[in-house]
Structure formats: C-alpha cells, structure tokens
Symmetry: none
Subunit: 145 residues, 2 copies
DNA sequence: GATGAAACCTAACCTTT
DNA sequence: AAAGGTTAGGTTTCATC
C-alpha cells in the first residue's frame, strides 16, 4: 500500500471503467503493472467491488428502511457478508453493539420491493427476527466518497 | 426505463465490470443491445458513474454508528434537517416509523470523533436523548448509498 | 442482431533492482 | 526474489450495417 496504490484507487473511484493503460499513463506505470496492482488490491479486499452510482429518483428506488437483525447464538460476520452481498437492495450494513446483531440499510423501489429484499436478508443463518424502521423523510445524504 | 433496464442496473450494481455479452446472456439481449441501453442510461444520467467500493479502514474514517434520535414532543422534518445539517459527520439520516423520531448514520475518524459528533447532535434544543449502535464490522458499503 | 476493425485485457516471458 | 516493462494472443468494445 503505497502512493501508487492510492493514486490508482483515486482514479478508479472517479471512473471504475478507466483502462489500465490510461491509469498507468497518469500514475506513471505500464498497463501491466497497473493490472497487477489492481488484481492485488482486489485479492487483498482493499477494493471490495466495482459498482455504479444510480440516480435514486430516476430509478425509482426511493423506499428505504433501517433493519435491525437479531440472530440466535453467535453470528459469523463473514457468513452475514456472504448473504447480504447477494442482495443488491442492501446499501449499507454492519454488525453493531447493543441488543441487535446487525443493522442493514435497504433501499428498494417500493414497499413490495422492500419486503422482497427483507425476505432475502432473513435467509441469513440463525436469524431470529428483524425490526424495521421505514424511512419517512430522507433528511441527509452525503456521498461516502 | 423498463424491466430490462432495471435488470441491467442490478447486474452492474453487483459488478460494474461485467461484460456486455455476460449481461446480455442473463437479461436476454445481445451484447450490442446491452451496450446501447447502458450508453443511454449514462447519457440520461440514470447511471451517475462507475466507481469502486474501498475498504473504509484505508481512508481513516472507519468509526461508525447508527444513532436513534428521540425528540421532545412533535418535531418537524425541517427542524431535524436544520439540526443535523450542522454536523458534518452525519453521513445519512431520515425520519422513520417506530418509537425513534429519526435514524442517523455517523462516520468519524475514531471513538472520540464519534463522541464529539454525538455531542453536537445532542446539543440541539429538541433532542431528548439518543441511542447508539456502534458498528463493529462493516459488512456492506455501496458508495451509491 | 450481426459484422469487422480497433482497443483492450491477460498471461507469459524478460529486465532491473 | 520482487516489481516493472514488453510482447503476443485472445477477447471485448464500438461503429456501422
């Protein structure tokens, strides 16, 4: 993890489709060297994935909920991650302190979409029950990066 | 904007580097047809950009909490917005159904930073109390949040 | 939806430190 | 060894039909 890696990450944050050659000509490496570093960053889980930013209003994905996940016994974070990463409606999730085991932020097209996503989340192992708080008015949204 | 577009968006959300041919074989279109649709979605600003999800521990803002906000009496969403917009650590917030008035997602550099942000939220006149769930393991973070 | 040229990705091999 | 460069081949993209 050096300044070259950070430069590559910055460029990919701005455009995840940039070619290796284009990235290399900016950070000062050959295309191959950039590819090797990107592959390593993905293997090391520094880059968790490649995704798109979608306009929520145009897409109609405006129904949101914060869902507390209560599990039986111990929960392996890796197992939760495996299940949740397969649900595209899950925008954000983490295991937390307090009585709930995890909190999951879901965004769906409408209430039926929310319910369907919730069903998929409940497939996670050892889930006892969930408690949802549906978002009425979205107040703040600051982009993560 | 039809179900084909939505299917393409879902696939790109999971892997923005998926090839047009791969996407087409899933949604039932040729590679060319998929490219035309993706190009249109980008031109129409439905897709705002292609980006990567980076391990938050890299950028040094890795301490997070979900905070339930309980206010005295009835509080208008505008009032809550006024309170929360003065706290830059607030990444995401909305009024919700349930006993809490709002849920606030805070991201800070460390625990003292988190506490300082919470203090700023609590100083607001109508805030009665807060209940925080500190994030232990970040499972999902899609930057399209 | 299909076609063909151009661009790109990828892996193997070579050079340098 | 470790990290970057070069080259060749296969695949994908992209414009055109």
């Amino acid at each position: 993890m050096d300044n070259l890696d950070r430069g590559i990450l910055d460029l990919l944050r701005q455009n995840a489709r940039a070619g290796y050659g284009d990235i290399g000509s900016i950070v000062g490496l050959s295309a191959s060297a950039v590819k090797r570093r990107v592959d390593r960053l993905v293997a090391d889980k520094v880059i968790r994935g490649f995704t798109i930013q979608v306009d929520p209003s145009i897409d109609g994905m405006s129904t949101e909920a914060y869902v507390e996940l209560f599990c039986r016994g111990t929960v392996a974070p890796d197992e939760l991650l495996r299940i949740l990463s397969g649900v595209p409606e899950v925008v954000d999730a983490g295991t937390v302190t307090g009585s709930a085991d995890a909190i999951v932020h879901i965004r769906a097209r409408d209430i039926p979409g929310l319910e369907a996503a919730l069903e998929k989340v409940r497939l996670a192992p050892n889930v006892d029950h969930t408690r949802s708080a549906i978002v009425l008015t979205r107040l703040i949204h600051r982009s993560a990066e």
